[in-house]
Symmetry: C2
Subunit: 424 residues, 2 copies
């Protein structure tokens, strides 16, 4: 016991969380130089990484665990973050030997866990590096703005340094060192907005997103047009929709921009495919659902209200106002945006369209979802061709905060011995 | 017997064939007005429709059979073709009552058959209307240029009025009446060029191509850029590649343009998907096959020859010279271009990658294909993740002629009684 207490005293530990981010206006960079992953506008949901960083004079080597599995701590991106936080700490101490401060020469242990599926297109590396840098900064008492440091881990990590809605600004320098992320609106700005992640596959994505995007920059003529002409206009529109909490505008633009991003992936040579047949099923389901409510909620033939059609937007016919909107990042999972009062019905539509194989009671996770009865008309119009078991589960979440310090010591991922706690 | 002979004497009949067409530079129109289907550059393979048109004073009504099944002859597009050919015939006769000529008041019977799968993205309606107009013109003794008439049936039919390589020229009039098709090179121009159609599904395509394209014109910002900036340049390049029989240039541009066309479909709102997971398999297979031969045929590190990589075209690294090239029209079937000496090996690669379910001996149809032994290196590098039964069969063909008159009376699709012959 005495030895354990001595070890505990010698151990300094800090735990932080950081959110993943979901792009609502997606990648459109035309330069190859870093930052490689340029999503102009993202949303941080309550899906997060938790990271504990610990330092001790008793540790004999740096070690790293991801989701309980030990990884190579020598990864250049991890080392770059570690080096940079230590540099800031050294600078802060002004070269003086502060004996009360944690020694920068101690070895460190790092443990990191996600509350969402890893590497399936949910910006897990962004959350991971944002969280790593936050925990390290806390450990070493660094209070500087950390976006720039986090970017050394992942080009997109700076976006996970804020909650709510985050805009990435590119800067002027060719090396990207003056690019930065800004919070457009905090997580409390739009209380009714909900996010449903349809987790359709635990598989790793086939092409690393950085390699894919570099190839797009080099080979896609459409990406160039998108970056130079389309996105600047869409970015301004989307900021306005968010400011005004205009779900129709927000949802429609999110769908269009997701589709256009994947179009530029397809225009890459060789082409990159993130959307699968199942993604197409989800996309078609969302359009059928919106079309059904477009028909039923808008009185057809009412003065000034044009007739709407399901599969064809004729000239001068305004688009169907969406009840739900989809977006797909560099992976097969579908992200659905909806307002809170739509969630229960749409979740039931998803459950009917992708009947759960075995885990029926764990099909919906995250925030609670009420029950909803579907009208026969809705089922007939929307629930066509069910695909059993195709959706593993639904994560129900909403906009969340940026990196947070975890005060409760029982939440540390490392135990008093500096090793990962065994999880029940 | 006497009655039958009398009926036969009263019956006038003509049979023609017309080819489908495969777009090598694809749809990029920005106007909604007709012609709706603007494929700037196409190839006519030896896949064709055969149509017999017959007229008799004994017929009591107009009738139409497609692939042996009676259809509604009142279809507006069929009627438009019929009306237009009769108008040309009347004009030709100059109003004089030529008693030797077939009466324009007789009812007609039409039978049409395809030697390829119908409505699976192989421009079957183009071939069908080109063939209908050719057979009707022959029946009525019309010898005018018929592209304009065929266009009343299908916007793309004018391209099936020629063999070899066909360019569509748009004209200036908003109604499209001065647009026309021109033969760029005859079917004999490139004797080594081969076409493999991987028939992956007999299903009908989910969205009619005209509706899809109109929606694209209205909603896709990328289509506008493609039409105004990208395609004019690509069209000139492709004409040059064809003129010079440059397979590397031809193949690479065909693949890129197919991908970009499908990108604009995805940028349409709601999005249009013609490519499926199986299309992605075929695309990946072609890239692996080309990469393998890019590695083996180009000595790596040879002076002036840059290293090539499979999945990433780095800056200043010229693309891998293709041995095979894919293109997809508005349907799931893959079309592969290759030179004759590549066909046997690639067909064997397809057979290994999509092992035939039952019809192993009918897996390859059309022109004969030699046998090929695959090296273990090729199999290891290219034949990954076989998908049994996914490809129904392969059609092996090559550039073919435009509409042809069928002289042999035994080839008429209608019998002496004016009804479809029963096929053995």
């Amino acid at each position: 016991v005495a030895a354990a207490m001595a070890a505990e005293r010698a151990l300094t530990m800090a735990t932080c969380t950081a959110p993943v981010n979901i792009a609502v206006i997606k990648y459109c960079e035309v330069r190859i130089s870093p930052p490689a992953e340029a999503e102009p506008l993202t949303l941080s949901p309550q899906l997060k990484t938790t990271t504990t960083a610990a330092a001790s004079r008793d540790f004999t080597e740096d070690r790293l665990w991801l989701n309980g599995k030990e990884m190579d701590v020598g990864h250049p991106r991890v080392q770059a973050c570690l080096r940079e936080v230590r540099r800031l700490a050294r600078k802060r101490r002004g070269g003086s030997e502060d004996t009360a401060a944690l020694s920068l020469s101690y070895k460190i242990h790092i443990a990191s866990e996600n509350n969402f599926p890893t590497a399936a297109g949910l910006a897990s590396s962004a959350a991971g590096y944002a969280c790593l840098v936050s925990a390290l900064a806390r450990l070493y008492g660094v209070e500087e703005e950390l976006s720039e440091v986090a970017r050394r881990g992942s080009g997109s990590a700076c976006r996970s340094m804020f909650g709510g809605f985050v805009q990435w600004q590119r800067g002027e320098r060719p090396d990207g060192t003056d690019s930065l992320a800004l919070q457009v609106a905090p997580e409390t700005h739009w209380p009714e907005l909900r996010v449903l992640v349809l987790v359709v596959s635990g598989e790793k994505k086939p092409v690393g997103s950085t390699a894919g995007m570099q190839t797009s920059v080099e080979t896609s003529p459409l990406l160039k047009h998108r970056a130079e002409v389309v996105v600047p206009e869409r970015l301004a529109q989307m900021m306005k929709h968010i400011q005004e909490r205009d779900f129709e505008g927000f949802g429609q633009l999110a769908m269009r921009d997701s589709n256009q991003f994947h179009a530029t992936c397809l225009d890459t040579f060789p082409p990159i495919f993130y959307l699968t047949d199942l993604s197409r099923h989800v996309i078609a389901l969302a359009h059928r659902y919106n079309a059904h409510h477009g028909h039923t909620k808008v009185p057809a033939g009412a003065p000034g209200v044009p007739q709407r059609r399901d599969t064809f937007l004729g000239p001068h016919v305004p688009p169907i106002p969406p009840q739900v909107a989809y977006t797909f990042d560099a992976g097969p999972n579908a992200v659905i945006f909806a307002l809170a009062d739509t969630v229960a019905e749409f979740v039931e539509v998803v459950r009917r369209s992708f009947p759960p194989a075995t885990n029926g009671d764990q099909f919906v996770r995250g925030l609670p979802v009420g029950s909803a009865a579907l009208s026969p008309e809705l089922v007939a119009a929307v629930v066509t061709e069910p695909v059993p078991g195709a959706v593993q589960y639904i994560l129900h979440t909403k906009p969340g905060p940026g990196p947070q310090l975890v005060d409760d010591p029982s939440q540390h991922l490392l135990g008093a011995d500096g090793l990962p706690r065994s999880r029940a």
